[in-house]
Symmetry: C2
Subunit: 114 residues, 2 copies
DNA sequence: AGCAAATCTAACAAAAAAGTAAGTATAATA
DNA sequence: TATTATACTTACTTTTTTGTTAGATTTGCT
């Protein structure tokens, strides 16, 4: 599917699919949403989804940042420290994501988060 | 990601991703939900998403049927007639999908359905 | 006889996504 | 001096997804 097509640019469903309908984005969003402080570092996120490679986590984070769903704060220290958190835009999406998750818990058997 | 992993089988997010987080499933679900009769034929669906190949539409429909979100009714006539509609399970999911779509309309610019 | 209709399936090719392993940077610490 | 810590990136391979084209089916119409 060409992302330049009119359908793509004008269809909210296709936008949703392009922005966070993939293997790892929902897990990242959920992890940030569920964390105490609302802030998580790369390694911490990785521990929450250890079947995701560093590479994939990295590119997922980039994509979410690009679409303004999460923000990335870099501390200029060694070793590096980078914190991720939901943007206001991302926060506004979470009720709907949580709706899906709750629906899934009710409709699939033997299901738990993480 | 191996679908046999424990995370996969016990995590509602991963289940959601596996069942309908792909390029075409949301469009199919939405089309069926939005149609007057709640029933659509293959060619009719295809007209609603003409940037999806027959092959992809066919496999998307199969996948949704396998996960009990849509049902498929075949009429033994020539030329063939097959009707698709949401199952009760699929219907119960739609409020959450619609939530996402409405969110997208509010948060992206110049966005319309189809 | 030949073609149209509807819903696919099959075979093959191309493109995209994902996996894996190794490497980078650099200050602090042992 | 060697190691550790963190957050990646790069190169390469493999797997998965998607695209493309052609064909199957079979009744009825021209």
């Amino acid at each position: 599917m060409k992302e330049s097509r009119v359908e793509y640019l004008t269809c909210p469903i296709r936008q949703v699919v392009a922005k966070f309908c993939d293997k790892w984005s929902l897990l990242v969003l959920y992890s940030l949403h569920a964390s105490d402080t609302g802030v998580m570092r790369f390694t911490e996120l990785h521990k929450h989804m250890d079947d995701c490679s560093q590479k994939m986590l990295s590119s997922t984070l980039k994509n979410l940042e690009k679409h303004n769903l999460i923000s990335r704060k870099v501390y200029p220290v060694v070793p590096p420290k980078v914190e991720y958190s939901l943007t206001d835009n991302g926060k506004s999406l979470m009720p709907y994501i949580m709706g899906l998750i709750v629906w899934a818990k009710e409709h699939f058997e033997d299901v738990a988060v993480h």
